[in-house]
Structures are given as structure tokens and as C-alpha cells.
């Protein structure tokens, strides 16, 4: 019998969005994703200018800060990742210069890429580097989200870094393993998405020996993300660049609608790097809440580097909390699960597999956190679109729109509802993973209980933290 997500939608249910002729025609055009990248690049040009011009002024009236840390971040966490997987990577303008340099052109197909085309070391083909990169970036959250110049420096570093590193390493190694701070969590959380890119009929790919999607042809590039498009098990490393749609001579690629979180049930290629990514993301959601929406002034002073000692304390505590404390507490519950379930199951396997229950919990925690940004602060956006460089413009007549929080009175209900839904989904995924991991069903039931207790405790903690 086919399993169902939340007891409602069969895990293998799919609706092929690209079966709609116009959708397929758009996806197969070489204008996709070039056009959205160029449009996005024009917005990022304004962001960069505003960041540079804004200097160290208050970020809440700066276009760069508002569009990166309010508009982009909220869209990313609340819309793009849960609904459209890594669609951001499809339209991201930051590595575009590096990629155009590799291809020595904008839209033309050139499979012999310019540059040194070095292979990325096999030992580093995982999320560890981006885990530390992202954690390191969050040390500067106090500056990034409040000082325009800090956002400018971050974005310019990514652009310049991508040009240099993409001239050295082949294809999208920069995005996948090296330099994108958000690439890791986009990959992990895209496992939650209700969309996917997959081969329509695996047998067609199996019979087709030439594998155009891997080596490229005159219609499209070899997969820039260096995956096997005919065998995408999970969304993690598919950057949705759409090249496989162009190269496939059998039109065998599809964008499917599917139930949420199905990739978390793929018992293949799970690893501790992704486990730690899940811990780090959950921990950062908690720490960010304390800094941005909490009432402890000393913590804000630490993150704001009011004193060097305070800032270093913040960095150390933040690191210990994310890298050791959360995994440590989780380990205790996993140990209890093994004790109750089956002591012959390797602890590492149990720890790794169950860590994927924190993916829905983490994404949902970020969505609940984002409500606390959206409702009180989004009115600033109306101001900055009219006067993006603080030069006294009033392009849309909204430059003097006052700060107006909306729905903040009912915001806690949105947060609680979201977190409880996250608990239900995490428990559902948790038991399915338990059944995969333990050999017998009664073992799976017993082994599930401590994990369910952990997930419930985290949810109660988050409800208390956010709303209590």
C-alpha cells in the first residue's frame, strides 16, 4: 500500500506542470532563465547602489536592506522554497557574471567552457563548507540587516568571489559547494518543496546511451550542477537551471507538482553534513529571534558589537549552541530511540536519518519567525520603493508613508498555527523514517516515541519563545 503524506496525499502522487503546452514551451526556450536573471539583476543593481549610497545609515529606510532582508528573505522562506524548490537558484543574478564568463556569452550554447575548469575535491563534495560559511555569515547579522554598506559588501563579495572561483572551478561548483552562504539550506529545505524536476519515464533515459543532459549538445549545456538529471533522487542539488529540458532529445524531463516533504523519505545519500545543516538552521532561527524579536538588550549589544568582548561572546555562544548543544540534545533522544527500538541499529544511521525530521520543523520555524518580520516591518518597503537612494525622490507617492504595522495583534495565531502544522508534518515524516530505519514495525513504533517527544518539546519551546 502506498504511504500518504499526512494520511492524505499518496507519496507517489504527481501532476506534471510541464504537460501544459505553454509551460513547456517557455521552459524549453533559451530565454528561460536568462530573462528573469536579467530582470533580477536590474533589481540587484538598485540594491547594490542603495547599499553603497546608504552607507551606515539606519537600515529600515534603505532599499538594499529592505529588499534583501525583508522582501527577498520572506519570499525565499515563505514562498519560493516550500512551493518552488530552488527556483531562486534558477533566477539568482549573483553567479550570472561567472557563468557568462565560463560560456563567453549570454544565451548561446558553448559546452567547452572558458576557464581552468578544475574539479572540486571529492572530499569536499558535501555541505560542510557551506555550513560553516553560512554560520560565519550569521555572525555578522547585526551589521548585515541594519547597515546598508554591510549588505553591499556581502553581495559584492559573492559576485566577485563567484567570478574568480567560477574561472577556476568548473560549472556551478561555486554555488554548490564553495561560496554561496544560502545554497546549503536552499538545498536541504528544497526537499520540502511541492515541486520537483524529474525524468518523466526513467526507461527512456536508461535506453538512451548518449546522455545529452550530462554531456550537453547544441541545444543546451551539460548539467551545470553536475548531477544526473535522469536520476534526480532529491531536490537538494538541482539548481533548476532548466538546461536538461533543452538538451533532452526525447523531451523526457518534467516539472511535477507533488506532496510536500517527499524527498525526506528518500533513503539514499543522507549524511551528517545535511544533519548539521538542519541543526544549524534550527539554531539560527532561535538565535535570530532572540536578537531581532527578543527583549534582551544585552544580546542586541553583543550582536551589534558594542564591545569586542560582547561580540566575541555572541560568536562563541552562537557557535556552541548551533554546532554542539542542539546536536547534543538531539543525540540524547536518538540514543533513547535506539534503546527502545533496536540496539543493533548503528547509532550514526539512526542519528542521521532522524535528523531529517528537523527539516520540516526548521523550515516551519523560519516561516513562523518570518511573520514577525512581515507584519511589523513591511510598510517600510512602501517608503523605499519611492525613494530608493534616500535622495528625496517620491516616485510612487509613498515616500512619506508612515511606519504602519499590520495584523500584529493576530500574528501570534499565525505563528502558533504554523508551528503546530510543522509538528504534525514532522511527526508524520518522523514515523515514516522510523519505519525505514528499524527493521520491524513494533521497533519503529518504540523508536519513534523519543523522537516524537523531542519534536514536540521543540515545538512547545518555539511557541513559548515566539508567543508566550
Amino acid at each position: 500500500m502506498t504511504e500518504k503524506i499526512l494520511g492524505l496525499i499518496p507519496v507517489d502522487w504527481r501532476f506534471e506542470l510541464t504537460s501544459l503546452p505553454y509551460v513547456r514551451k517557455i521552459i524549453k526556450s533559451r530565454w528561460m532563465p536568462f530573462l528573469p536573471i536579467v530582470l533580477n539583476l536590474s533589481v540587484f543593481t538598485i540594491i547594490l547602489m542603495a547599499g553603497f549610497v546608504g552607507g551606515v545609515s539606519a537600515g529600515n529606510y534603505n532599499f538594499g536592506i529592505m529588499f534583501v532582508w525583508i522582501v527577498w528573505w520572506l519570499l525565499l522562506m515563505m514562498v519560493m522554497v516550500p512551493f518552488f524548490s530552488r527556483i531562486w537558484c534558477m533566477i539568482c543574478p549573483l553567479p550570472a557574471f561567472g557563468e557568462w564568463l565560463q560560456r563567453l556569452g549570454f544565451m548561446k550554447v558553448r559546452n567547452k567552457l572558458f576557464g581552468l575548469n578544475k574539479k572540486w575535491p571529492k572530499a569536499l563534495k558535501n555541505m560542510w563548507l557551506v555550513n560553516f560559511l553560512f554560520l560565519g555569515t550569521t555572525y555578522t547579522t547585526g551589521f548585515l540587516t541594519t547597515r546598508p554598506i554591510a549588505t553591499f559588501i556581502l553581495l559584492m563579495s559573492i559576485i566577485i568571489g563567484s567570478i574568480v572561483l567560477m574561472a577556476v572551478f568548473e560549472k556551478r561548483n561555486f554555488c554548490k559547494y564553495i561560496g554561496c552562504p544560502v545554497g546549503g539550506f536552499l538545498g536541504l529545505y528544497s526537499n520540502m518543496a511541492v515541486t520537483e524536476i524529474r525524468a518523466k519515464d526513467p526507461q527512456i533515459c536508461k535506453d538512451h546511451k548518449h546522455k545529452d543532459c550530462v554531456i550537453g549538445n547544441e541545444k543546451g549545456h551539460a548539467c551545470p550542477w553536475m548531477i544526473l538529471p535522469f536520476d534526480i533522487g532529491r531536490n537538494t542539488y538541482c539548481g533548476m537551471c532548466l538546461e536538461c529540458f533543452k538538451t533532452c532529445p526525447y523531451d523526457n524531463m518534467a516539472i511535477n507538482l507533488r506532496p510536500p516533504a517527499t524527498d525526506l523519505l528518500v533513503d539514499k545519500n543522507r549524511g551528517l553534513d545535511e544533519a548539521w545543516k538542519a541543526f544549524i538552521m534550527l539554531g539560527i532561527a532561535i538565535f535570530f529571534f532572540l536578537i531581532m524579536q527578543g527583549n534582551m538588550g544585552f544580546l542586541k549589544d553583543w550582536a551589534n558589537a558594542k564591545t569586542t568582548e560582547g561580540y566575541l561572546t555572541f560568536v562563541v555562544l552562537h557557535s556552541i549552541f548551533n554546532l554542539l548543544l542542539i546536536p547534543g540534545v538531539f543525540f540524547v533522544f536518538v540514543y533513547a530511540s535506539r534503546t527502545l527500538g533496536n540496539k543493533e541499529i548503528p547509532l550514526k544511521k539512526l542519528f542521521t536519518n532522524f535528523s531529517y525530521t528537523l527539516v520540516p520543523m526548521g523550515l516551519i520555524a523560519w516561516i513562523a519567525f518570518s511573520f514577525g518580520i512581515l507584519f511589523p516591518n513591511s510598510s517600510y518597503v512602501l517608503h523605499v520603493i519611492s525613494d530608493p537612494f534616500a535622495w528625496g525622490w517620491d516616485l510612487f507617492g509613498t515616500a512619506h508613508f508612515p511606519w504602519t504595522p499590520f495584523l500584529t495583534g493576530v500574528m501570534p495565531y499565525f505563528q502558533i498555527g504554523t508551528l503546530l502544522f510543522g509538528l504534525v508534518l514532522s511527526l508524520d515524516i518522523g514515523f515514516k523514517i522510523s519505519k525505514q530505519t528499524f527493521q520491524k514495525r513494533d521497533e519503529a513504533v518504540r523508536g519513534f516515541i523519543p523522537i516524537a517527544a523531542f519534536l514536540t518539546a521543540v515545538t512547545i519551546f518555539l511557541i513559548w519563545l515566539f508567543t508566550g
Binding site: 527583549n295 538588550g297 500584529t408 495583534g409 503546530l420 508567543t467
Partner: protein
């Protein structure tokens, strides 16, 4: 199946008892609270009152121009150094409400936050009750499915 449901209902009822006990409130009072605002926090960071209290907040700024806006109550005031602000309201809505600075006061301005807690917090108790209920329900569900 029936036994599982009975156990679930009994557990939820038992869990509800402390909520009812905790929900007992004191008589409404007149409360005057002084809050000091300084980049980028309020002191005290949390103000606790009971449902029905008539609350007057006196806002004192010790550095720059600050504001104070209370989510849910949608009331606000502001203060400059030497020029205090004040607001009064009846705490009819229970739960935790965020107090935010409403005047741009520096880089961390959007993060200048305090809490108003109006007891008893039915919302928090109810949410915890639901989360525990979901936990127990899920365990019962997987145990029930296990039986032939």
C-alpha cells in the same frame, strides 16, 4: 480503537486541569509602570499585568528620540531626553504583546523590542495543550495501526 480514544480524551482532560487552575486571575488594579528606553532596549524588558488592569506606561528616554507601540492594543507614545511620554489602556486582551520602538532611533531600531504580558495567557496554555495532544494522538495512532 475505543480504548485509545478514551485514553486520549482522559489525558487531554487531565492536561486541561492546570490550565483552568492557572487561568484564575487577580482583581483588576490600577498600575503605573515606568519604562526606560535606551538604544536599543527597554528596561524593564518585560512588563507583566493582569487582565482588566488599567495600565499607565510612562516612557523615559535616556539618549535619543524613542517611541513605544504595543502590538494588539495599537497604542503608542514617544519620548525625548527630558520629555517623557505616557499612555494608558485597559489590559483586556491576554497573552504576550510586543512593544516596539516607533521612532527610527539608530541602526538596531527595528529590533528595539520589549514585551507586555497580560495574564493569564490562555493562548500559550492552549497551544501547549494542543501540542501535547498532537504528540499523544500521534503515538496512539501509530500504536493503533500496529495492531492487526
Amino acid at each position: 480503537m475505543k480504548n485509545s480514544m478514551k485514553i486520549l480524551i482522559m489525558v487531554l482532560v487531565l492536561l486541561a486541569i492546570p490550565i483552568v487552575i492557572l487561568a484564575q486571575t487577580e482583581e483588576p488594579k490600577e498600575k503605573v509602570i515606568t519604562i526606560n528606553a535606551q538604544q536599543f532596549s527597554y528596561t524593564p524588558g518585560t512588563v507583566e499585568v493582569n487582565r482588566g488592569d488599567r495600565v499607565t506606561i510612562r516612557l523615559i528616554s535616556t539618549d535619543v528620540h524613542h517611541g513605544l507601540y504595543i502590538d494588539g492594543y495599537e497604542v503608542s507614545t514617544d519620548a525625548r531626553p527630558g520629555q517623557d511620554g505616557s499612555l494608558t489602556f485597559v489590559a483586556n486582551n491576554t497573552g504576550k504583546f510586543v512593544m516596539r520602538c516607533s521612532v527610527t532611533c539608530g541602526p538596531f531600531h527595528p529590533y528595539m523590542i520589549g514585551y507586555l504580558k497580560v495574564k493569564p495567557d490562555y493562548r500559550l496554555f492552549g497551544s501547549i495543550w494542543l501540542a501535547v495532544g498532537i504528540f499523544i494522538g500521534s503515538i496512539l495512532l501509530v500504536i493503533r495501526r500496529q495492531k492487526p
